[in-house]
C-alpha cells in the first residue's frame, strides 16, 4: 500500500528499511521544489561567476606574483609571503592591536540594540522620526572629516575637552591624544558615536515586524512598557540579534584601515598600528604593489574570520537552534 503525503510516497515495505524511504522521498522532494531550484539559479550564477571564478587567484599568496609572468607563470614561493609577515618585528603587536580594537568594538554591540529598543518605545512620533533621521547621518561623513573633528575636540589646549577641563579645574588638561593607552577608547567610542545610529536601523526594522496583537494582549494583562520591552521586544528580535552577532564575529579581522591610519601619531603607534596599516606601509616602502603579500595577509585574515564564524554559528545552533548554516 502506498501512502502519499506532502513529501512524496512512503513505501510500506518494511523489509527494505528506512533508507529506501528517504532516498525515494529525497529525489521526489527535490523534483517537487524544481521552481525553487530554478529561481536559485540566478543568485548561484552571479556568485559563481563573480566570486568563485576569481577565487582561483588566491594562489598568488603562495607565489611571487609579477605582472609579466601572470598568475600561473609567477614563481612558487610556498609560505614565504606568510613568514615574511609573521617574522616582522611588529607582527605580534599589529595582531594584538587589531584584535584589541575589534573585540572592544564587539563589546559595544548592544548599544545600537538598546538605542533601537528605546527609540521604538518613544511615544512622540515626530520626535522619533527626527532622532532617527539625524542619528544615522554621521555614518556618511567621511573618516577624514571625523578624525579631524576628533582631534579638534580633544585638543588639550584649544579643544572643547581642554576648555571644559580648564574651566572645571583651572589647570591645563592632560594631552589624551598623546597617551597611547587611551587610543583604543577614543577609537572605539568615536566609532559608536559615528555608527550606532546607522547600525540600529536593522533592529528598528525588526521591531516593526513584531505582531502588535502581542502588545495588546500584554497591555490587557497589565504589563508596563518596560516589561513589554523585556518580554516582547527583545525575544521578538532575538533571531536578528543572533545573526548580526554571528556576522560581526565573522568580521573581527576586517577592521578598517583608514581611521586607524589617520589617528596614528608617534606617541600612540604602539597601540594604533594594526595589520592593515602596517601592510599598507610595507607596500609603500617596497615601491611596487606587492599583490602576493597583500593576498597572503588577506588570506590570513579570512581564515581567522571564517574559523570564528563557524565557531559562532555552531554555538548559536546549539543554544538557539538556528544559525547561518
Amino acid at each position: 500500500m502506498k501512502m502519499k503525503d506532502r513529501n512524496g510516497y512512503i513505501s510500506a515495505d518494511a523489509s527494505k528499511g528506512i533508507v529506501q524511504i528517504s532516498s525515494q522521498s529525497l529525489k521526489q522532494r527535490m523534483l517537487r521544489r524544481w521552481q525553487l531550484y530554478l529561481m536559485l539559479l540566478i543568485p548561484l550564477l552571479f556568485t559563481f561567476i563573480f566570486a568563485y571564478i576569481p577565487m582561483g587567484g588566491l594562489i598568488i599568496a603562495f607565489k611571487k606574483y609579477n605582472f609579466r609572468d601572470g598568475i600561473f607563470g609567477s614563481a612558487w614561493v610556498g609560505l614565504d609571503n606568510f613568514t615574511k609577515f609573521f617574522k616582522s618585528a611588529y607582527f605580534a603587536r599589529t595582531l594584538r592591536n587589531t584584535l584589541t580594537l575589534s573585540i572592544y568594538g564587539l563589546l559595544t554591540f548592544p548599544i545600537p540594540i538598546l538605542f533601537a529598543l528605546f527609540l521604538n518605545a518613544l511615544p512622540g512620533r515626530k520626535y522619533k522620526k527626527i532622532i532617527q533621521t539625524v542619528t544615522y547621518l554621521p555614518h556618511f561623513i567621511s573618516t577624514v572629516v571625523i578624525v579631524g573633528l576628533i582631534f579638534q575636540l580633544l585638543n588639550y589646549r584649544s579643544g572643547i575637552y581642554g576648555a571644559i577641563y580648564t574651566m572645571l579645574t583651572g589647570t591645563t588638561a592632560p594631552d589624551i591624544l598623546a597617551k597611547g593607552r587611551l587610543f583604543k577608547h577614543i577609537y572605539v567610542w568615536s566609532g559608536v558615536w559615528q555608527n550606532a545610529g546607522y547600525s540600529s536601523i536593522i533592529y528598528i526594522a525588526a521591531l516593526a515586524g513584531i505582531d502588535p496583537t502581542l502588545y495588546e494582549a500584554a497591555t490587557i494583562d497589565g504589563a508596563t512598557r518596560f516589561q513589554r520591552l523585556r518580554y516582547i521586544d527583545i525575544p521578538g528580535i532575538m533571531p536578528t540579534i543572533s545573526i548580526m552577532l554571528i556576522l560581526a564575529v565573522g568580521h573581527i579581522m576586517s577592521i578598517g584601515f583608514e581611521k586607524a591610519y589617520l589617528m596614528q601619531n608617534n606617541l600612540n603607534i604602539a597601540y594604533s598600528e594594526i595589520i592593515s596599516t602596517y601592510v599598507y606601509k610595507v607596500g609603500l616602502a617596497s615601491g611596487i604593489t606587492d599583490f602576493s603579500y597583500a593576498t597572503a595577509i588577506g588570506m590570513f585574515n579570512s581564515v581567522i574570520n571564517f574559523a570564528l564564524l563557524i565557531l559562532a554559528n555552531t554555538i548559536s545552533k546549539k543554544l538557539s537552534g538556528s544559525g547561518i548554516f
Partner: protein, 297 residues
C-alpha cells in the same frame, strides 16, 4: 491622546528616562553634522586653521559657488544616481530571490547552498583575478562593471532570510500549498508583500553602498563620463592633503591644498543630500502589523 492619562507611574518614569537618554545621544550625534554644515559655509583658511566649531567663521559661499560651476559635480551626481537606482534594483531582485529560496526549510541541500554563499563573504581571489575576469567579459569601462559584480551581498541576504524565517510563519506556506499555490507564486504574492520592512532595509543598505562606492569605479572605469561622484570627492580630499611621496614641489602643493580646502566641506554636504532624503522615504515601510489577519481563520 488619552493614552497619557492612563499611564502608570512606572511607565511615566520609563518614558522620561528614555527621552532624556535619547535626547543626549541626539545632541551628541548631531554635532558632527552641524560642524560639517558650518564648515561648508566658512572660508577656506578658517577651516584649515581649525577655527570652525559650531557656526561658520568668515562666512563664505565660495565653496558652493565653485561646486555649482564645476561640471564634474553634475556629471558625478548623475552617474551616482544612475548606479544607485539601477544597481539597487538588481541587488534587491537577486537578494530577495536568494533569501526566499534559502528560507525554505523543505529545500534539500539548503545548508550546502548556504555554505556556498557564505564562503564568499570571507574568501575572495583579490584584485587581479577579478580584474582579469571583468576584462575577459568585456565589461571594462562600462557601467556593468559597477552594477553586476556585487549583485548578491551575502551579508544582506542573510539578514533578509532571517526576517522571512521569523516573520512569515510556516503555517502560511502550508495553507497556501493546500490551496495549490506554487513556490514561485507564493514568493510573488505572499512573501514579497509581507517583506516590505526588510526590503526597505535592503534598499537602504544597498543604495548607501552604491552611493559611497569608489573603488570599483576607480579600477574598472577610465572615462570621466562614467565616474560616480565619489571619485571627484576623493580627488578633492586628496588634493587638500600633501602626500610627500608623490610631490616634487611642496610649496605648490600647499597652494593647491588651500584651494581644495575651500570646496571640501561644501562637496561633502552636497554628496550627503540624497542620503538624507532617502531615509524618511523608506521609513514608512517599517510598518507595524503587516501580519494582522493573515493567519486568523
Amino acid at each position: 491622546m488619552n493614552k497619557l492619562k492612563s499611564l502608570s507611574w512606572g511607565d511615566k518614569v520609563f518614558y522620561f528616562l528614555i527621552t532624556v537618554a535619547l535626547t543626549i545621544v541626539f545632541l551628541l550625534v548631531l554635532y558632527p553634522c552641524i560642524f560639517v554644515l558650518a564648515a561648508s559655509f566658512s572660508s577656506g583658511p578658517a577651516v584649515e586653521a581649525g577655527k570652525v566649531y559650531l557656526w561658520p567663521v568668515d562666512f563664505s559661499l565660495e565653496g558652493y559657488k565653485t561646486i555649482l560651476k564645476t561640471d564634474e559635480v553634475y556629471l558625478g551626481f548623475r552617474n551616482s544616481l544612475f548606479y544607485t537606482v539601477v544597481g539597487t534594483t538588481i541587488n534587491i531582485i537577486v537578494t530577495m530571490i536568494a533569501a526566499y529560496v534559502m528560507s525554505r526549510r523543505d529545500l534539500p541541500g539548503r545548508n550546502g547552498f548556504m555554505f556556498f554563499f557564505a564562503f564568499t563573504m570571507f574568501f575572495s581571489g583579490g584584485l587581479i583575478p577579478s580584474y582579469i575576469l571583468i576584462q575577459r567579459l568585456h565589461m571594462l569601462n562600462t557601467p556593468w562593471a559597477i552594477l553586476l559584480p556585487g549583485a548578491l551581498g551575502v551579508y544582506n541576504m542573510v539578514i533578509a532570510r532571517t526576517f522571512i524565517q521569523s516573520n512569515i510563519p510556516q503555517e502560511l506556506l502550508e495553507a497556501a500549498q493546500i490551496d495549490g499555490c506554487s513556490d514561485f507564486r507564493y514568493f510573488i504574492s505572499i512573501v514579497l508583500p509581507l517583506s516590505k520592512s526588510v526590503i526597505a532595509v535592503l534598499v537602504l543598505f544597498y543604495a548607501v553602498g552604491h552611493w559611497n562606492a569608489y573603488f570599483n569605479a576607480m579600477i574598472y572605469l577610465n572615462k570621466k563620463e562614467l565616474y560616480p561622484l565619489t571619485i571627484f570627492l576623493r580627488e578633492i580630499l586628496m588634493a587638500s592633503r600633501i602626500d610627500p611621496s608623490t610631490v616634487d614641489d611642496p610649496e605648490l602643493q600647499t597652494l593647491i591644498a588651500k584651494a581644495a580646502a575651500v570646496i571640501k566641506y561644501a562637496l561633502i554636504v552636497v554628496s550627503m543630500i540624497p542620503v538624507l532624503l532617502i531615509y524618511p522615504f523608506i521609513q514608512k515601510y517599517f510598518v507595524k502589523g503587516v501580519m494582522i489577519g493573515s493567519i486568523k481563520g
